[in-house]
């Protein structure tokens, strides 16, 4: 054997399929050795493997992991966003934020925003997936249309909703008025309602992600399970709780995790909805605040400190989440 660098007893195949055999005499390992064609010597495997993954690994290290690590260093500096001067000030940025009322407000607003949007995305997404998993005329068309909001640029979603919600000329106010629900035009983008507006609009934009993930899983549930439940006389609700829910638990775990991370760090939707509306500071969530510290007040150090705090909160929450739902994590 040439260049065996790890014991064969520890298979490294993806998903553990087709474990390799230790034998290396002609004709034995061909099908069983799986991922490696028997003609390639193992040392060459090592080299070629590393060589082909290297560009991707380099880009991810240099352009994602390094910047994130650098932001920890940056958060210890007093630094203007546009000038090269920088001064090491230790944890002072964090002490400043601890006493900064705006930081606490933004943390609160960000939590409110992400909690409501996640909750309704999940409920709507699962309900819609259940509907679109049934057979009915025009299902293919509805499945395609329903994904539109998720596929368009955020800027388009924002201008659409700003136009729909326009206080004087918006069609939402017109309808509410026409049906007698309101008497005076509501200022949807004003201080009192802008949080509600951005939450509704975000649910509209992002629940198709939940829908599609759940639908993909629903399609793999064997129909026999439902047949059996029907024979047992289980009602629709019982069938959902006893058959569907256990099946989608794993994917639901992953979807809630991803959506939570992405909603808590959502920048463009919130920023663009708040911009120019005059009431932007009522939806100034943590990501928006980090952006503003960096590019409105030019305090890159503080901006980086906010990004680091955001990251830390996410890591802590993710760990707690995994601890709480250990079983689901295994399935997912």
């Amino acid at each position: 054997m040439i260049g065996v660098s790890y014991p064969e007893s520890k298979p490294v195949e993806l998903s553990g399929a087709r474990p390799g055999s230790g034998a290396n005499f002609p004709g034995s390992g061909f099908a069983r050795r799986g991922w490696i064609p028997a003609t390639t010597p193992e040392r060459r495997q090592q080299w070629m493997g590393w060589l082909t993954i290297a560009p991707a690994l380099f880009l991810i290290l240099a352009l994602t992991l390094y910047p994130v690590a650098y932001s920890i260093w940056l958060s210890l500096l007093e630094k203007h966003s546009f000038f090269p001067q920088e001064r090491f000030i230790g944890l002072e940025n964090y002490f400043y934020l601890w006493k900064d009322e705006e930081f606490w407000t933004s943390l609160w607003l960000g939590t409110v925003y992400s909690m409501w949007t996640i909750l309704f995305q999940i409920i709507l997404g699962v309900a819609a997936a259940l509907i679109l998993n049934e057979t009915f005329v025009g299902r293919g068309l509805v499945r395609a249309i329903v994904l539109f909001p998720y596929m368009i640029p955020t800027i388009v979603a924002v201008i659409l909703w700003k136009w729909l919600l326009n206080d004087t000329y918006g069609v939402v106010n017109y309808w509410l008025f026409a049906f007698g629900i309101i008497r005076d035009p509501m200022s949807w983008l004003g201080a009192d309602h802008i949080m509600l507006s951005v939450i509704v609009m975000s649910i509209w934009q992002f629940f198709p992600f939940v829908l599609l993930s759940i639908l993909a899983r629903l399609q793999t549930i064997p129909p026999e399970l439902y047949e059996a439940a029907k024979v047992d006389g289980a009602s629709a609700i019982r069938r959902f709780l006893n058959v569907t829910l256990p099946q989608i638990r794993g994917i639901l775990f992953v979807v809630i995790l991803l959506r939570s991370i992405w909603m808590f760090t959502k920048f463009d939707t919130v920023w663009l909805m708040g911009e120019g509306a005059g009431a932007g500071r009522f939806i100034r969530t943590l990501p928006v605040y980090a952006y503003m510290r960096t590019l409105t007040y030019y305090q890159a150090g503080l901006g980086a400190a906010l990004a680091v705090i955001m990251f830390a909160i996410l890591i802590v929450c993710t760990i707690i989440y995994f601890r709480m739902f250990r079983e689901e994590a295994d399935i997912g």
């Binding site: 090592q46 590393w50 352009l63 994904l147 639908l215 463009d268």
Partner: protein
């Protein structure tokens, strides 16, 4: 029997009601955008609003093309998204080949690391990225933007491609190798043709991500002639009186390419979804 039938009627109507609601909530805003973009200014602000333009006009689109920087932004968006797709695809195809066809030390660790970075949100990366790009002296260039998009898309394209490559039976490749073909020829004549649908689908997802991006462009690009569509269109808002007809026309023009590409990969979507989905 009658009771059973009534129940069935009820569930069917609930089902169709739900489906109709789903379709309408998604489609109406787009219909409204389309309708507004064809209205002359007077009709845009008319009360009660007209659903089908009574006096349709191309005027908004004409002004969009002549009086704003729209065509420049459009060109920039095409260039940047196209280059990002090209770079991402070459790098992730090689990476996916590596992760599914070679065995080496640390392969699973690398795969795990890549999946981890999938969860990084742009806002956490973009602030240090901005400072580093300034330090490197490549701020305000399409080059920096292409790199940013590539690094942002890579984790998920790599993950998706790995899933696609894993479905290609190795026996075919081995057969080609036995017949005396080299690895490169086996790759070109056996693997790539089979992987093509996956490669196309993945590149279109990448294109949509790059096409839709706002935050990287906002932060990295300052000069007007380098801006992409989302940032350029947002700046149309900065005039004193918001020209809704013009903005809706711009919205239509940005949406069309994204939707066309989306519809073309729709059938791969659910398959790809199981393998990693789309970020956003």
């Amino acid at each position: 029997m009658n009771r059973w039938r009534r129940r069935r009627l009820l569930t069917r109507s609930l089902l169709y009601g739900g489906a109709a609601f789903l379709a309408l909530q998604a489609a109406f805003p787009f219909f409204w955008m389309l309708s507004t973009s064809f209205k002359p200014p007077v009709e845009v602000f008319a009360q009660p609003p007209s659903f089908i333009p009574e006096d349709p006009t191309w005027d908004n689109f004409r002004r969009l093309f002549t009086a704003t920087g729209f065509l420049v932004y459009f060109k920039n968006s095409l260039i940047v998204s196209g280059l990002a797709v090209l770079l991402t695809m070459v790098v992730s195809a090689a990476g996916a080949y590596s992760l599914t066809r070679y065995r080496y030390l640390g392969r699973e660790k690398i795969a795990g690391l890549i999946l981890c970075t999938y969860m990084f949100a742009p806002i956490m990366v973009v602030i240090p990225f901005f400072i580093l790009v300034k330090k490197a002296g490549v701020e305000n260039t399409h080059f920096a933007l292409v790199l940013a998009f590539t690094s942002f898309c890579l984790p998920f394209t790599l993950w998706l491609m790995r899933a696609f490559f894993a479905t290609i039976p190795l026996e075919l490749e081995e057969a080609a190798l036995v017949d005396g073909a080299g690895r490169v020829r086996a790759l070109i004549y056996v693997v790539l043709p089979l992987a093509l649908p996956g490669i196309i689908a993945t590149s279109i997802f990448t294109f949509i991500l790059a096409w839709n991006d706002y935050i990287f462009t906002r932060i990295l690009i300052t000069s007007d002639e380098l801006k992409t569509l989302p940032v350029g269109v947002q700046d149309l808002f900065h005039s004193a009186l918001i020209d809704w007809g013009l903005i809706m026309a711009a919205g239509i023009m940005i949406t069309i390419p994204a939707l066309l590409f989306f519809l073309s990969v729709q059938k791969y979507l659910i398959r790809g979804w199981g393998a990693g989905g789309v970020k956003g």
